[in-house]
Symmetry: none
DNA sequence: GTGGTCTAGACCACG
DNA sequence: GTGGTCTAGACCACG
């Protein structure tokens, strides 16, 4: 598991850890059952305080992404793929809603927004524009 | 000019004021030259400290949306309509970029996102579902 | 006499009036003895308060650029051309001093500064580079 | 880090702090990564309010010179040396531009300005009067 | 400990 | 009246 910490970012360090782990679970990079490093190990690796890692793990546990047990360590929760899909859809839908509100109040047309979506979906693809 | 403050929001009060005024300028609800309420008046109306309103006005001034002058008060800057359009496009494009990133990492397809955009653009319309 | 007021500038209005009149005297555009408009007339022309114009005239009088007499109105002082030249030199020399300090502390060489001076002196000239 | 405050200057205290720190970063006296004193410490040292120091730090953060983080303190940003040079050049060029404008409107010749630049560049040098 | 937000006052220059 | 600066407190999240 790879996590990058930016000391100069304004995002709190605990949130950087939390978001990156969540991203990797949602994208399927971290599969259910996979063991996460212990809080002490991760803290040492990232050169941050154990308390900081603890806060990230705590939040992820509360949201159901990981499970922690005394003596068992921490692992990715056995999430139904439908749950994952719902989480992702929720995240995207919230973004779309906000974007459309901004577009409407700023007199930006539907076609322009659709074009932007097409544009960013194409980026990073290799000659794939089906 | 109408502004709603949520004391319980995690967004700072000064930012709530700032964003709402910016929204109204970008949407054309506040026209160039329009006088804004004085910092003291707005502070009293919103039941917040003068300093809080000042921080909002300061940020808007630095970004060029309003002009302030001691003894002259505060007014919406003479903005070119092209500037307004650019600002709106920038805001929407940043939103789209983030949405597409989330969609890609969550295995959500382009078509699904396009459908969401259509859906939210239709909402609030009268008998318009072309 | 032409004066432009910018309501959106952060420079106080009285200072805008003061500086523009001083510039015109120092550059020779306003000659000694020339009558200035009365404070009331100028205030009406510029659509500002009489008190604002008064402050500008007051400062210019104190610095010796204009003379005011009850019933005689206001006029440009009979300045010796050597005085004008000294004022101009003082202003330029102060600017050069600050520029060189900035250059030194920023590791910018003398040649680079000399080049900039040449460059800006050429601007606006017609094929004159003696 | 040494900072001098003049309570009687017309430059706001927060700006004095801001400019002096920026000067030291631009001149290389403060290297990237160097920790700055905490706002409370500096405020106590300079005998000013914490808010005043905060405003200076806030401006420097927005301009990219320093990075701040709750719980992490404040440090000089990792700046590219090319950025530093550009910032210095920008500052000097603005000064030269203003100087030349003053000189032109005051009928002061290019040679005189060039001589002044030479003169101030020599000052403070040891036995260097080439 | 750190920086970020907020309050309730004050005094100033400007118009 | 207006905005700009400053003080001396407070509470918060973060590390």
């Amino acid at each position: 598991m790879t996590i990058f910490i930016s000391q100069s970012s304004s995002t709190p360090i605990y949130a950087q850890i939390e978001f990156q782990i969540k991203d990797q679970i949602l994208s399927g990079a971290l599969l259910p059952g996979t063991a996460l490093p212990s809080m002490r190990t991760l803290a040492k690796d990232l050169r941050v305080s154990v308390i900081t890692v603890q806060k990230a793990y705590e939040n992820l546990t509360r949201e159901g992404f990981i499970t922690t047990g005394v003596g068992r360590g921490t692992a990715v929760s056995p999430l139904h793929s439908s749950f994952l899909r719902d989480e992702n859809l929720k995240r995207v839908e919230e973004g779309v809603k906000k974007v459309v509100e901004d577009a409407k109040s700023g007199n930006i047309g539907k076609e322009e927004v659709l074009d932007m979506v097409e544009k960013y979906f194409s980026k990073g693809d290799d000659h794939d524009n089906s």
